[in-house]
């Protein structure tokens, strides 16, 4: 048996809140940039930053999962149903993130081009694996993003419910 802890460790907290900011920022940028006019000065830089930040978040998320697996996380609080639902939601959030990373990558690399990360390094592209990959991956990316934002909102509301209604440790252990 691992020893139990009452809150998340500092690194886990930092990674969690940083990811939250990144996810909201990426969603906002993505939502905005797809409707930009070709002649907008933002048309080129914003998708470039979105892709770069998204790939950085991928690396961070892999690191986060490794960190989570080697450190101890506090127990989920609430009714048996809430515990199950919370665990499922947490797993689903990770899964949706990875669907977003993969689908985003598959849009930009459908023609074999790599993705430049902040003009810092390039992630190679491997072309298309399915026909009309950029379109299909685009739809998956879009709908997954909406689902993730919906689920993340629910996740936030649930934390607030535990904090203000149940008055338990749920929110505090992440602060």
């Amino acid at each position: 048996m691992r020893q139990t802890v009452s809150g998340y460790n500092k690194v886990a907290k930092l990674l969690h809140w940083f990811s939250a900011i990144m996810v909201i920022g990426l969603f906002a940028a993505g939502y905005w940039m797809v409707d930009l006019s070709y002649y907008s000065e933002w048309y080129k830089p914003v998708p470039h930053w979105h892709k770069s930040a998204g790939l950085c978040l991928l690396i961070l998320t892999i690191g986060r999962l490794i960190w989570k697996s080697i450190t101890t996380s506090p127990a989920i609080e609430g009714s048996p149903f809430e515990k199950k639902a919370a665990a499922a939601a947490h797993h689903l959030i990770y899964l949706l993130l990875f669907i977003l990373f993969l689908s985003g990558y598959l849009i930009s690399t459908a023609d074999g081009r790599g993705i430049e990360v902040f003009n810092w390094f390039e992630v190679p592209g491997f072309g298309s694996f399915i026909e009309n990959q950029e379109d299909i991956a685009g739809l998956v990316h879009e709908y997954t993003a909406y689902i993730l934002i919906g689920l993340a909102s629910l996740h936030g509301l649930a934390a607030l419910k535990h904090h203000f209604i149940n008055k338990d440790n749920t929110l505090k252990k992440m602060l």
Binding site: Y38, Y39, S40, E41, Y43, K44, P45, R113
Partner: protein, 189 residues
Amino acid sequence: MKKILIASVIGATMMIPMTANAADYTIDTRGAHASVNFKVSHLGYSFIQGRFNKFDGEFSYDKNDIEASKVTVNIDTSSLDSNHAERDKHIKGSDFINVSKFTSAQFVSTKVTKKTDGGLAINGDLTLHGVTKPITIDATFIGEGKDPWGGYRAGFEGTTRLQLADFGIKVMGASSYVDMDLQVEGIRK
């Protein structure tokens, strides 16, 4: 003596920016605002249009000093695409451009002159199928200016006819030559 040498070296390096004012451009292959297209006869009845998807290059251009212009383009011959995989395989094979042996083609300009009609004659050496031959590209300057994203671009269009026999490529039937159609847009460095 040493001091004079150092002073003259410094003096010489300081003079370089004074003389070179032709702007250098990178061909925008990343944004695919450039293409290397070819057109070749099919049995003498119609033309096949294809292109090379992978290439890179750079040029320098100054509208006030055309003669100082230069262009270099490297083409990945294996990126030939005529919208038909089996045909591409055939053209890339040893019957034609033999890409496993001659993986790249290169054009290096030697002289650029302004023609009386306002167009440009770009003379240079083309290396294709392992053979280097001088060719002339008839080019037209299309336009230049700022783009909406903070860059500066200049673009050209060019055509040239290559005789396959000149490059040691076997002539079969009516397909003795290939017309190249080049679209080039560069981003100023």
